[in-house]
Each structure stands twice: as structure tokens, then as C-alpha cells.
């Protein structure tokens, strides 16, 4: 896509530049150490502030008749709480704060990333993989702690014919280990692709020359359309990540089919 732009309008635009991790204070080329304050740090901190703004400040009045902000906070709470309760059952409720943390963080990071010029932390595989594998290891350890060796019955589909069970067990085992990968790449891939496409359309919108009269309005329309889609995707991906976490948690709590 970038090459087309190069040949077509004689423009240079770099849809992936928005994802570059760079020190907040200093030049792009400066080294990024573990503790360096980068644009990642800034936007993660903003996600924390957004979380506090969304769930803490709005509820400070503790009104019985909620304000608009408090309604949103209660809605988010009820949404995730019901999801955890529906998917994992009553005994999954005690893991609700962890799942709420994931949901709110992903939601805030996704929506903050939609602000023009923003850095989208959830578009980075390093970020989503930490969460994906974190969920994977937590759920696996929890499964063994809660059920002992019988947790392995998750892979032994007792409702299938006996001859098929070993094959199914192999498939189940593979799918189990693929989970964290798909879990994290799904989120990062969605966010990255959407933002890259936005940038591509935005690049086309600055085309000059003969075709500009057609290309520019179409690309602006494209930006608007993709942006609307991204708003939807931002929420849906947060939802998908959260509900999959709940499903994995349910497997750990009730491994028997």
C-alpha cells in the first residue's frame, strides 16, 4: 500500500511510524532502556488516568440516583460483572477484579489510541502478549491448583467415542497452547491494522495533482468510515479479550466437559 502511494502521488507516508516506541524526552534515535520514559509510558499513564476518571471520579458522589458519568461507571461494572458471572459461574466472581482490570485497561488504551496523534499501546504485540500469556499461565496454574491432575481431563473429551479420544486430546492440547498466541495477536493485530489503514487513507487525503479532486474526498470519507469502524473494533476487541479470558478461566475452574 505504501508503495502505491509512492508511485501514485509522489508522496511519502509511513503508516507504521505511529507505532515507533521512542523516548518522550529526546530524539527518536536515542536508546530505549527498560526504565526510559517513552511514549509508551505516557499513554499507559493516560490509560491509568482515564481509568481513574472513568471509575473513580465519576462515582465520588456515590449518588443513589446516578449522574451521567456514574451511570457509565456502573454500566461498565455491571457489564463485566455479569460477563464473569455468566461465563465462569458463581465461583469465578472472586477473579472479577483481575478481569475488570484487563477489560478497563484494554478499553481505555484502545479508545485513547483513537485520539489523533496518539500512540496505541494495545497495538504492540509486546503489550498484548504480556496479558495473553499472563492469562494463560495464571489460568493453567489455577487449573492445576484447583483440580490437581484431573485438570488434564480438559483434554480428554469423554463424550467422544473412545477411538477418537487420543486424537481429540492431541488437537485439544495444541489448541490449548495456541490460545495465548491467538489471544494476544488478535488484539494487537486488530488495533495495528485499523490504525495503519487510517494512516494510509490519511496519506491519500493529502494527494495533490490531477486526480486530487477525486482521491481526496474519497480518502477523507475512507478515514471517517474506518475511524467509525475502529471505534467499534476498540470496544469489541476489549470485549473479546475479556470474554475469552472468562472462558479460559471457566475451563480452569470446571475442566470437565
Amino acid at each position: 500500500m505504501a508503495d502505491e502511494a509512492h508511485s501514485g502521488g509522489g508522496l511519502e507516508f509511513h503508516p507504521m511510524d505511529q507505532f515507533i516506541v521512542k523516548p518522550l524526552f529526546g530524539e527518536i534515535g536515542d536508546p530505549v532502556h527498560m526504565y526510559t520514559i517513552t511514549n509508551v509510558t505516557l499513554w499507559l499513564a493516560l490509560a491509568v488516568l482515564a481509568t481513574i476518571g472513568l471509575l473513580v471520579l465519576t462515582t465520588s458522589k456515590r449518588a443513589v440516583v446516578p449522574s451521567r458519568g456514574q451511570s457509565v461507571a456502573e454500566l461498565a461494572y455491571g457489564f463485566v460483572y455479569k460477563m464473569v458471572e455468566d461465563v465462569t459461574g458463581k465461583d469465578g466472581i472472586k477473579y472479577f477484579p483481575y478481569i475488570m482490570t484487563l477489560f478497563i485497561f484494554i478499553l481505555c488504551a484502545n479508545f485513547l489510541g483513537l485520539i489523533p496523534m496518539a500512540f496505541t499501546t494495545t497495538s504492540h504485540i509486546a503489550v498484548t502478549a504480556v496479558m495473553g500469556f499472563g492469562v494463560f499461565f495464571a489460568v493453567t496454574i489455577l487449573g492445576f491448583v484447583k483440580n490437581g491432575v484431573s485438570f488434564l481431563s480438559l483434554f480428554w473429551v469423554s463424550s467422544a467415542p473412545l477411538a477418537l479420544r487420543p486424537i481429540l486430546a492431541l488437537i485439544e492440547l495444541i489448541s490449548y497452547f495456541v490460545r495465548p498466541v491467538s489471544h494476544s495477536i488478535r488484539l494487537a493485530g486488530n488495533m495495528m491494522a485499523g490504525h495503519a489503514v487510517l494512516k494510509v487513507f490519511a496519506g491519500f487525503a493529502q494527494v495533490t495533482g490531477g486526480m486530487a479532486l477525486i482521491i481526496v474526498p474519497v480518502s477523507i470519507l475512507g478515514v471517517v468510515a474506518v475511524y467509525a469502524l475502529e471505534v467499534l473494533v476498540s470496544f469489541i476487541q476489549a470485549y473479546v479479550f475479556t470474554i475469552l479470558t472468562c472462558v479460559y478461566l471457566k475451563d480452569a475452574l470446571h475442566p470437565h466437559h
Partner: protein, 178 residues
């Protein structure tokens, strides 16, 4: 995709080639800050936000339950009040009827007494009148007797007879009785 982004990446000023997502050199930085972020959010949620929202929701549920109970209570009270009102109305009506009947009875009694008194008075007056009439009649008879005696004496004297007073009295009395 990798090729095109590669081309784009290389144009960027000193930026690492390829997808920035695959630049392993920034991973430790991202992971470090992400873990801090998640821990902070977890503590903000589990210590402040979630208990508070749970308390708000519980309080609202309680308020709603209480309000419904209070409404039921008030409804029952209204029902009772209506019953009491009806009862009071019926009582008042009965009382009014009683009072009216009593008053009627009292008036009737008073009337009876007054009538009786009036009757007695009328009877007394009648008796008195009759007595007076009788007296008058008596007086009239006496006067008639006297006149008759005097007349008889005068007639006898005119006839030239000498009449004894007692004889004439007896004769007149006899005639009058007779």
C-alpha cells in the same frame, strides 16, 4: 505487508527497520511500564473503584427494596385509613340517627308532658268554671227562691191576708222542690 512496511520504516528518521512491533529492543521497556500500569489499575480498581461501585449498587438495591416496602406499607395504611374513615362515617351516621331519635323522643316526652299539663289545666279550668257556674246557678236559685218568697208575701199581703213568714217559706220551698 512486511516488505512495504520495511520500505516505509527505512524512510523514517533513524527508526528501526520493519514493524516497530517487532523491535525486540523496546520490549523490556514496554513490558516494564505495562506491568506497572496493570498493577496500578488493579489496585485502583480493587481498593477504590469496585468496592465503591458495589456499595453504590447495593445501596440502590436496598433503597429500591425499602421504597417498595414503604410503598406497600403506605398502601396498607391508606387502606386502613379508608376503612377507618368509612367506619367513622358509619358511626357518625348512626350517632346522628341516634341523636335525632333521642331528640325526637325528648321532644315527644316534653310534648306529652306539656299536653298532659295543658289537659290538666283545661280540666281544672273546666272544673272551676263548672263550680262557678254551679255557684251562679245556686245563687240564682236562691235568688229565685227569695224573689218567690218575697213575691209570695207581697201577693198574700195584697190579697189582704196576713201571711206568716215561715208558712210562706215552707210553701214556696215545697213548690220549688216539686
Amino acid at each position: 505487508m512486511a516488505d512495504t512496511t520495511n520500505a516505509a520504516g527505512e524512510v523514517a528518521l533513524g527508526a528501526p527497520p520493519g514493524m516497530p512491533q517487532l523491535d525486540i529492543g523496546t520490549f523490556d521497556n514496554q513490558v516494564f511500564w505495562l506491568l506497572i500500569t496493570l498493577v496500578v489499575i488493579y489496585f485502583v480498581l480493587s481498593r477504590v473503584a469496585l468496592p465503591r461501585i458495589a456499595a453504590i449498587l447495593a445501596e440502590r438495591q436496598g433503597t429500591i427494596t425499602n421504597d417498595i416496602a414503604a410503598a406497600e406499607d403506605l398502601k396498607a395504611k391508606a387502606h386502613d385509613a379508608e376503612a377507618a374513615y368509612d367506619k367513622a362515617l358509619a358511626d357518625a351516621r348512626a350517632e346522628a340517627q341516634r341523636i335525632s331519635a333521642e331528640t325526637k323522643a325528648t321532644i315527644q316526652a316534653d310534648l306529652n308532658v306539656a299536653i298532659a299539663k295543658a289537659d290538666a289545666e283545661i280540666a281544672a279550668r273546666t272544673a272551676e268554671s263548672e263550680k262557678a257556674i254551679a255557684e251562679i246557678r245556686e245563687g240564682a236559685m236562691e235568688a229565685v227562691a227569695e224573689v218567690a218568697k218575697d213575691t209570695a208575701m207581697e201577693i198574700v199581703a195584697v190579697m189582704g191576708g196576713k201571711a206568716d213568714q215561715s208558712t210562706i217559706d215552707t210553701a214556696v220551698s215545697d213548690r220549688m222542690k216539686g
